[in-house]
């Protein structure tokens, strides 16, 4: 599946291992929050990097103790109309200070990517949007009204010369 990260198309070295599948000995993998919690020792002892995939009902606070060991957090959007992932992303970035890759997976559409990016996502796994279209989507607005997890400065600061 095409992966867009930091506004470029990149190869995906990661694989998600469903709970019912055995873990491969090598390679970068993501697992569910439940598996991360139940097989913590074994997972953290691996020589490869480790990541986690959050489902909409998962509480990102449960990742707090693992954050400096995680190289990737995927947030799943089973349906793009389920907006819980935006709050999970904001909590991870702004409340918990996570700085690694934050990837949107699942039903990820072009017209949601700006909101996702503003909420803290830097990577998007999407089969429904080509890179040029995604880049356009990220630039559709030259100003924003509220601070979020991105670098954009809200207009209430720009109006008063505060960048």
């Amino acid at each position: 599946m095409p992966l867009i990260k930091d506004r470029r198309e990149v190869d995906d070295i990661w694989a998600y291992v469903p709970d019912e599948a055995a873990l491969s000995p090598g390679g970068c993998i993501t697992v569910s929050l439940a598996r991360l919690r139940s097989e913590t020792e074994m997972l953290l002892a691996r020589n490869t990097e480790i990541g986690v995939r959050l489902e909409p009902a998962d509480d990102p606070h449960e990742l707090e103790e693992f954050l400096d060991r995680l190289a990737l957090i995927e947030i799943d959007f089973p349906k793009y109309t389920d907006g819980r992932g935006y709050s999970q992303a904001q909590l991870l970035r702004r409340r918990l200070g996570y700085e690694g890759e934050l990837r949107a997976v699942g039903h990820v559409l072009r017209d949601q990517i700006l909101y996702m990016n503003r909420s803290g996502f830097d990577a998007f796994e999407t089969e429904r949007a080509e890179l040029p279209s995604v880049l356009d989507a990220l630039e559709e607005y030259s100003a924003v009204y509220q601070p979020a997890a991105d670098e954009r400065v809200p207009v209430f600061r720009r109006r008063h010369g505060k960048d």
């Binding site: 909409p56 793009y80 109309t81 389920d82 907006g83 819980r84 935006y86 709050s87 904001q90 702004r94 409340r95 559409l109 017209d111 949601q112 700006l114 909101y115 996702m116 503003r118 909420s119 559709e140 607005y141 030259s142 100003a143 924003v144 009204y145 509220q146 601070p147 979020a148 207009v155 209430f156 600061r157 720009r158 109006r159 008063h160 505060k162």
Partner: protein, 552 residues
């Protein structure tokens, strides 16, 4: 009123181009209909029974004459010569073609208007007191904070895909004309020890399961308001139900979680915000926005106007209209005028293109360029000199806009119903018209006094039937329309949900049943000053129920 600066202008124009692109991608097939649907909804575009409907935002109900003329032009150019003012203080056009909508939005952008977030599961147009800035009974003008909330909620990246739609209302008056207790969030402005803040109510709503909001905070200082709203929104976005759209509003989260526990969730989320997460609106931005809402410069005038008094003596119809459609202004010698959009035989809230032009002209000539839309689907000119009222009245009257019924029994809230809406189970407009017919005598209406009838054509309650003194709900029973009557609802500071009186009535039986109900009220009231709702609250359901079903 607020005027766009370069940033607001850019954002709204960029929105037009974005939607133009979305429509093009839909027409090319790149976007599937189910993927396009939430995008068009967040731009106010609904697929209705006969055509697309476009809902345009009128933030907190305020319009300039120029904007009103632009709406008239849209009615002429893209619709069938009229528009429909809604209970959300917005306007809807029922006959716009999808291909034209990007052009309509471009026209709107020219007059600082848009259709952003007028539908969809996001934060909707913020509503307020239609007398804001003019009425005696407010502690301050709520509009600057409405505008601040409008900007904060516009394209908020975290809250665009909520479990369900989300409505915020703000009032600053003792008498609540914004129905804050039946909103997802209702804010009541307060002053405490010299500080401005907000009493916060959460989880009110109508629809299938009506709820009166729970008070979540007595006082949130103005500097913390947006952070507090973010805490509420995040709790809702994370924990609101998404398994059943009929249980997805925040009212269900509040009632299933319990008020205490819900309050704790909000307080905990609010307390956990780090400094870097705080919105920290600069004081100069708060001042900048307030500066747009300075009161108009009203020349000093005596408290009473000779010409006004003389005209009342000479013209009985005018005198009647002044008794009903004027509201006291905070400045001596001025008044606030309600332009009724509820004449006999016209769907509630409808205005023609010509009428919109007339209202724009009159607001310029006599109303300091200020126009409001009320949630009762009328138009308000908030600042009119008593000296000018008679001239204004004559021009309104010539345009069919001087119906003397503000707040009276024929001033009903009526949803579009089965005549337009594909959710409806029954027609609303004809029932409303039949009731108007039954109470057409203006003397009779004046004698009955304040009386709110609200009519919805289905359980979604767009006609606010739960909070009508008399609520009428259309239902379908084996292909036949029936109307259930509720009594005792109100949307003001004493908000209450109406109680069902009994089995549904056929459409033809509704007006006669209401006649008997009104006669019973006249027998029971202690004086003409006691309104129907007061008599109902004193006497209870039984005598009125007996009256409604007297022939059953």
């Amino acid at each position: 009123m607020y005027r766009y600066d370069e940033f607001d202008t850019r954002i709204v124009k960029e929105r037009v181009e974005q939607f133009r692109g979305q429509v093009a991608r839909r027409l090319s097939g790149e976007l599937k209909e189910d993927e396009f649907k939430p995008l068009r909804l967040q731009n106010g575009v609904y697929l209705q029974l006969h055509a697309y409907m476009l809902r345009i935002a009128i933030p907190y109900g305020q319009l300039s004459p120029r904007q009103m003329r632009a709406l008239a032009e849209i009615a002429r150019k893209y619709d069938r010569g009229y528009g429909h003012f809604t209970t959300r203080q917005n306007i809807q056009f029922n006959w716009v073609a999808l291909k034209d909508i990007p052009d309509v939005l471009a026209d709107l952008a020219e007059v600082e208007m848009h259709a952003i977030q007028t539908s969809g599961n996001c934060i909707r147009n913020v509503t307020s007191d239609h007398y804001a800035g003019a009425t005696k009974d407010e502690v301050m003008d709520p509009r600057p904070w409405c505008e601040i909330i409008r900007q904060w909620s516009t394209f908020h990246p975290e809250f665009a895909f909520l479990p369900r739609k989300f409505k915020i209302a703000v009032t600053a008056a003792e008498h609540d004309r914004a129905a804050i207790k039946v909103h997802d969030i209702g804010l009541n402005m307060r002053r405490k020890d010299g500080e401005v803040g907000f009493e916060v109510h959460v989880g009110g709503g109508q629809g299938r399961t009506p709820h009166i909001a729970a008070k979540v905070s007595d006082f949130v200082p103005e500097g913390e308001l947006l952070d507090y709203l973010e805490a509420i929104m995040r709790v809702y976005n994370r924990f609101g139900r998404r398994d059943n759209k009929y249980k997805a509003r925040i009212k269900i989260l509040v009632s299933e979680t319990g008020e205490e526990e819900f309050r704790k969730l909000v307080e905990d989320e609010f307390a956990a915000q780090r400094d870097a997460e705080k919105i920290a609106l600069p004081p100069e931005e708060i001042e900048r926005i307030h500066a747009y809402f300075e009161p108009p410069e009203l020349a000093a005038k005596p408290a009473s106007s000779d010409s006004f008094e003389k005209a009342k003596t000479a013209d009985a119809a005018f005198a009647r209209w002044t008794r009903v459609n004027l509201h006291p202004h905070k400045v001596e010698g001025y008044t606030t005028v309600t332009v009724s959009l509820k004449p006999m035989g016209v769907a509630a809230g409808d205005a023609t293109d010509d009428q919109m032009d007339v209202m724009a002209d009159l607001a310029e000539a006599y109303g300091h360029d200020d126009i409001r839309v009320s949630h009762a689907q009328n138009v308000v000119l908030p600042h009119v000199a008593l000296d000018d009222v008679y001239e204004l009245y004559r021009k309104l009257d010539a345009a069919g806009l001087a119906t003397p019924n503000e707040g009276l029994i024929s001033d009903m809230i009526v949803c579009p119903g089965l005549d337009y809406c594909n959710l409806a189970n029954a027609r609303s407009i004809p029932v409303g018209m039949a009731i108007q017919e039954a109470f057409s005598d203006p003397d009779d209406q004046a004698d009955i006094g304040k009386f709110h009838i609200n009519i919805s054509g289905c359980i979604n309650a767009c006609g606010h039937h739960h909070v009508g003194h008399v609520g009428i709900l259309g239902v379908d029973r084996k292909g036949e329309e029936y109307y259930q009557i509720t009594l005792g609802g109100r949307a003001d500071e004493k908000a209450a949900i109406g109680q069902m009186a009994g089995p549904g009535l056929k459409a033809d039986d509704v007006p006669v049943a209401l006649k008997r109900l009104v006669d019973r009220y006249r027998e029971l009231r202690t004086s003409k000053e006691e309104t129907f709702i007061e008599t109902f609250e004193r006497e209870g359901m039984q005598p009125f129920k007996d009256a409604i079903y007297a022939d059953a």
